[in-house]
């Protein structure tokens, strides 16, 4: 009996452990991007981001202040100061006075310099150099220290990307362009689809089944097929490349899913409610706006999230229908792709831009996950 119980708890442990491994595996790449966006270009280039979370050991070659800053006190010539810049939280573990013995002294020890004078270095980097004779030369003597550097993060990348960066680095404009594309492209299809979904769910007319089948078919039509004919069409009616075109395209491409999701949801609304309203003399238009729309809120929210994520994250539709040669209307995804090409090695810029572009969808995702899951289940599980 005990062996069975032991086996069981072993299995439970295995489940917890494998779930944890899976989660870490799935989270690791994104965390890498997030951490990198808070590091300087130097830090990113010299060590892996996973090391940024822990204190690191650094070997530094520093100099004391120049002899011209020396003062005379009690018959001695003295130079005092700190090896590190102000506010540094580095801690010296060992130090030395020449390249061959960089770990000769502990913090607090005093070393006799070859060129005369005695040097004392403390753990926080403050030092005192004193000697009976005047120090000469233009620069102070070298000090080799091994220091423990605590994790360091900076917001400079975000400042550059959002505010101060030049034309190719600044994402502010692309951010607003993306927003401009997304909001109308999310709202308009909902309205158009809701009316159609109501007709398909609750009105009797010949050809209804055929229409529903057609919409199920259109759900999977690759939008690659639509690119050339629609570009020709947009050029033909004179709107060319621009916001109007991209809004219309997103509306068209989003409609099958919208109608499908909303119809499936509306069919589930109890028949009694609608019949009662009819008996009371409500017209179809009233039934739709007063009863169906408020009751369908969860389905509307689901679709709104899908459409928002899809339009925010889209690259292809924006490249074909929106962005013209001037690049004035570029969206974030396009700008990041361009950066990947031109600034492939500048990870601080890339990581920060990418994170700026995925922050909004991630927020929406975590805030409205319930509706997203509900929509997914309604959309695919039959």
């Amino acid at each position: 009996m005990s062996s069975i119980a032991g086996q069981k708890s072993g299995l439970v442990w295995a489940v917890h452990l494998s779930a944890a491994v899976l989660v870490i595996l799935w989270l690791f790449p994104t965390v890498g991007l997030l951490v990198s966006s808070f590091r300087t270009a130097d830090q990113i280039a010299t060590s892996g981001w996973w090391k940024a979370l822990f204190p690191s050991q650094q070997n530094l070659t520093l100099r004391t202040a120049a002899p011209e800053t020396q003062v005379q006190a009690d018959g001695l010539f003295v130079i005092e100061g700190s090896l590190f810049e102000d506010g540094s939280s580095k801690v010296i573990t060992v130090w030395g006075t020449n390249a061959k013995g960089i770990d000769s002294y502990q913090p607090g020890d005093t070393a006799a310099l070859r060129r005369g004078g005695r040097l004392t270095v403390q753990a926080d980097g403050s030092y005192r150099l004193e000697g009976e004779e005047e120090f000469t030369g233009r620069r102070g003597p070298r000090v080799f220290v091994t220091a423990e550097v605590p994790p360091e993060f900076t917001l400079a990348n975000y400042h550059k990307i959002l505010i101060s960066g030049g034309a190719t680095d600044n994402m502010a404009k692309a951010f607003f362009n993306t927003l401009t594309v997304t909001i109308p492209a999310t709202i308009i299809p909902i309205l158009v689809a809701a009316f159609a979904a109501y007709a398909l769910a609750w009105m009797e007319f010949p050809g209804r089944a055929l229409l529903i089948a057609a919409i199920v078919g259109l759900l999977v039509v690759p939008l690659q097929l639509a690119l050339i004919p629609l570009l020709k069409f947009h050029n033909g009616i004179g709107i060319g490349k621009g916001y109007l075109g991209v809004w219309m395209a997103h509306t068209g491409f989003g409609l099958p899913l919208a109608i499908y999701l909303l119809r499936n949801y509306m069919v589930g609304i109890p028949r009694d409610i609608i019949e009662n309203a009819r008996v009371d003399g409500a017209t179809d238009f009233q039934i739709f706006t007063r009863i169906i729309l408020p009751l369908s809120f969860p389905a509307l929210a689901s679709f709104a999230i899908f459409q928002f994520l899809w339009t925010w994250n889209d690259l292809l539709v924006a490249m074909v229908f929106l962005i013209d040669a001037t690049g004035e209307t570029t969206v974030m995804t396009k700008q990041i792709v361009e950066m990947l090409g031109t600034r492939g090695g500048n990870w601080e810029i890339l990581a920060t831009s990418a994170f700026v572009s995925i922050a909004v969808p991630l927020f929406v995702f975590f805030a409205m996950q319930k509706y997203l899951v509900r929509g997914l289940l309604a959309g695919s599980v039959k």
Binding site: I183, F195, L218, Q224, L315, L316
Partner: protein, 335 residues
């Protein structure tokens, strides 16, 4: 005009236009054309009810027809024509397809697409099933699910940047900042590898990105299906002495096989259209071309609309079986 103002105006115009259209067209039908009064009241109400569904459907049908149905036909037509210098088109029969079949890049794209089709839906579904089963009964399961599901919200372009950092390679001897190379060196690999430039295997490194994104989707749906399994079947199996693995593979999986197929086909559609990942990470270099990116190349770099349309038709052809199967299922359910 500032785009933001234009956007607001479009929202106002679009929403107002829609509401106005529906409201006034209904009003027109009910009060003016077929008023529910006078000597023909019964006939009028009947006729109004025949017309009304089409009022509700009209804007959607117009948009669907123009933006999805018409392009299918038009693309088919364009794939059989060729632009003649000086404007206009001429019918060239299957010449575009013949030209495409003569290009190595096309066959490379087709071959890669099949590889993607084999690997990505299978891997995503398998990982999704594993994640669903693992997180189903543990106390922090919902948090785990949320985190595995999260990549779904990240754009393909964002994912491309994330994974390019994972695959990054630095010169030998210096510290590696890409996780994959760091692990490779740690376990005794000699020189850091530029993973995305190794033909054949690089396709798998690109696929990993899509698997990473799609696993959450598979997990969410399969997890709901697993919860829908009647408890008695599992209990009966335990009583009969089935082990955990037997329960999973012999009892649970067969009961959700329908859902697994749905997940599989949905991801298959995504794979057939995959564009952004390849475009952003390798742009089809080093033998990673796929159909959607090949088509984009033809359209907007080579400016060859004929061959571009032909390759779009190939994608459509590959989607066709799933389209037919979906429509067949939907019709069966409605009966």
């Amino acid at each position: 005009m500032h785009p933001a103002i234009q956007g607001l105006m479009t929202i106002a115009f679009g929403v107002g236009g829609c509401v106005g259209y529906f409201y006034f067209s209904n009003l027109l039908v009910d009060k003016v054309i077929f008023p529910a009064k006078g000597e023909h009241i019964a006939r009028n109400i009947r006729r109004a009810n025949i017309v009304r569904p089409w009022l509700f459907l009209a804007p959607a049908l117009l948009a669907l027809g123009l933006y999805l149905a018409y392009p299918v036909v038009e693309t088919l037509r364009l794939s059989l024509t060729q632009r003649v210098p000086g404007g206009g088109y001429e019918y060239v029969g299957l010449d575009n397809y013949r030209q495409m079949a003569g290009e190595g890049k096309f066959w490379e794209a087709l071959q890669n697409n099949f590889l993607w089709l084999l690997v990505v839906p299978a891997a995503s579904t398998a990982f999704g099933l594993l994640a669903a089963q693992l997180t189903d009964r543990i106390s922090w399961g919902n948090i785990a699910k949320s985190l595995i599901f999260m990549p779904m919200a990240i754009s393909f372009v964002g994912a491309a940047v994330i994974w390019k950092l994972v695959y990054d390679a630095r010169p030998p001897g210096t510290e590696q900042i890409g996780v994959l190379n760091a692990i490779y060196i740690f376990f005794g690999g000699d020189d850091p590898q530029a993973w995305l430039t190794i033909p054949f295997w690089n396709s798998f490194f690109l696929m990993a990105v899509l698997v990473w994104i799609q696993t959450g989707f598979a997990m969410v749906i399969l997890s709901a299906a697993l919860r829908g399994i009647p408890e008695e079947t599992v209990e009966a199996a335990i009583v009969d002495g089935a082990g955990p693995f037997q329960i999973f593979f012999r009892i649970k999986v067969p009961q959700i096989i329908g859902t697994i197929v749905v997940v599989w086909t949905t991801i298959t559609i995504v794979v057939l259209k995959v564009f952004d990942i390849v475009f952003a990470m390798t742009n089809g270099q080093w033998e990673t071309q796929v159909l959607a990116n090949y088509m984009f190349d033809k359209l907007f770099r080579a400016n060859d609309w004929g061959v571009g349309s032909a390759s779009a038709m190939v994608i459509m052809l590959l989607v066709m079986p799933i389209l037919v199967w979906n429509v067949y299922n939907a019709r069966r359910e409605m009966r």
